[in-house]
Structures are given as C-alpha cells and as structure tokens.
Symmetry: C2
Subunit: 189 residues, 2 copies
C-alpha cells in the first residue's frame, strides 16, 4: 500500500462524520471509520491520533486562516472589517465536502455530550486566534475580544445558514452576511 | 450519620477544587474528595453523581439567576442594561468561598483538557440562558445573541478581576465594571 493516499484524510473525515451521525460517537470505532473510508487503520493513525481528533481536523488551519486574513486587512479598516477579511480568508478552506457533511456533523454533535464540549472548546480557540490577531493590529484588548466574539458568532451563524441553503454560493458570503447582521445589532445593545 | 449535613456540599466543592489544583483532575478520586471534605462517599454521591459534576455545581442555578435578573429588569432598559441586572442578580450567589477557591479553580482548569472543555461548554450554557431571557423581553435575536456574548465576557472578565483583587467588594461591581468596559468597546467595533 502506498504511503501517500490522495484524499484519504478527507475520506476519513467524511466516513467518521457519517458513522457518528448514524450510530453515535461513542459506539463508533476507528476500525469502522477506516473500513468505511477504504483505508487501513495504520493509515488512519498516520492522519489522526484518535477518533476525537478526526472532528478537530482542520481547526488549527482554520484559526490560522482567520488570523492571516485579519493580519492582511488594510491597516485603516475597523476591527469588524478586519474580522470580515478573516472570515473571507477562512472560507477558502470550505468546499462542497464541508457543506455536504454539515447536517450530519450537526446531528453528531447534538447527540454527544463529548462532542458538544469539543465544539465549545473549538469556539474558544477561534475566539482566541481572532483576539490575538486583532490585538496585533493595535486594537485595544476589550474591543478585540468583543470583535472576536462577533466573528465567532458570524462564523457559526453563517455556517448554519450555508449548510441549510441550496445554492452555489460559497461559505464566505454567508459568513460576511451574518457579520453584517451582527454589526447592525451592535448599535442596538 | 445524619442524612442532612449542613455545609457538606460546599465543603465537597472546596475539597475537590483543592485536590484538582494540587494533584490534577485525572489523578483525584471521589474517595479522596470525600475524605478531605470529612464526609462519606455516600454523602458525596447524594450531592453529585461524579467528580465532574462537582465542578458544574451551581451552573444551573447561575443560569437561572442571570435569566431572572434579565427578566425582572425594567421593560424600557437597553439589552446591555438588562444583562447588567442579570449579572447583579447572579452575583448574589458569589460569596467569599467562591472568591477563595477562584485561583485554585483556575489552576485546575488550566491543567486539564477535560476541565477546559467543561468550562467552554458552561460558557455556552450561560450564553444560551441570557439569549433566551433577552429574546423573551422582545429583543431581536441577533441583538440578544450579541448582548449575551457581551454578558458572558463581562462575567468571565469580572470574575478574573474579582479573584485577583484584595478588597471587600462583592462580585457584582466587578462584573458590572467589566460590562461597562465592553459597552464602551462596542462603539469602536
């Protein structure tokens, strides 16, 4: 078996999410995930240390893209405009597969306390990444923290709207639309 | 042994937090927690189903107080003023013991991935409770969600400042001061 298997990582994520949604996170074994993805268990363990990590796949890359987009925004834009740039950069990592597995991923999380905790912690990680990136631009810390929370909300709400919609639009416009709604809301606090 | 033991619940929480901070969450058993609190294991299990639950102690009551304070705020106040009323109501549940165990609780959470996840999920629970209470006042959903996130940030930041300070002030003024800082920050988004 070749050590390099194109698409194995993505197939493993899809297989895991399907199994988690079908039969529950706790009941799913790495052996089943590898079998459904059509790879050996040793291939699975080259990509992920355990089944939990399969659901965290891409989180660091996502945080990195959010931070890069914020860092690369023009220096004179507002904190929320910088967050919008972060969301647009992050959206480049969201393809049709992400959209397709969205409803099953949501079902899997809803059915597992452990996955809900993991999801909540992921949210904290995204917030920290955005706060740090905004602070590095010179944004005052309370403003950076608040803008990052708005960014996380926009990310989550944009994602929920995106996976429910039936169109050819990418994730970016959904995330930015959610951010614009929250931007308006911030004037009514 | 009497079934009703005044203070047993609070002693168990303090004992658990001390042990988690000293020797780590994973290494601490319910037997050790009961022994340090000076109660039997069966008393511990009358109060908590497992050691994780000891750290979630009071979370539902806290969410309830936040929601009640928001519901009871005068009808014409702004969403953030309603959140401030929720924080003030919640602060009634925070006494000297909460302040005293704060640094150890923080150390325990910092040392355990499992406790970090639990803490992150607690945060989501507080946010949902405040969002629902604000929406029940007729606040538009995006505004309610945003105000709730500001409330959670104020809660966390106020708590961090409170446990670090050395004065006789209760939790309430710290939480409200943090909220005021974030309120000002919201105009700079």
């Amino acid at each position: 078996m070749a050590r390099w298997e194109p698409g194995a990582r993505e197939r493993l994520v899809v297989a895991a999410v399907e199994l988690f949604a079908d039969q529950g996170y706790d009941a799913t074994t790495v052996t089943e995930i590898a079998a459904r993805a059509g790879v050996t268990k040793s291939t699975l363990f080259r990509h992920f240390s355990d089944k939990r990590e399969i659901l965290s796949a891409g989180q660091e890359a996502l945080s990195g893209r959010l931070a890069e987009g914020i860092a690369d925004a023009p220096p004179d834009v507002s904190p929320l405009d910088a967050v919008a740039a972060g969301l647009e950069r992050a959206s480049e990592a969201f393809g049709p597969v992400n959209r397709a597995i969205g409803p099953q991923l949501r079902a899997a999380i809803a059915s597992s306390a452990e996955l809900q905790e993991r999801d909540a912690l992921k949210r904290v990680g995204l917030s920290v990444a955005m706060t740090d990136a905004l602070a590095a631009r010179g944004v005052a810390v309370p403003v950076a923290q608040l803008a990052a929370e708005v960014g996380v909300l926009a990310f989550k709400q944009g994602y929920a709207a995106w996976i429910e919609a039936d169109d050819d639009t990418g994730f970016g416009p959904y995330a930015v639309a959610a951010l614009d709604t929250l931007r308006e809301a911030s004037s009514e606090l």
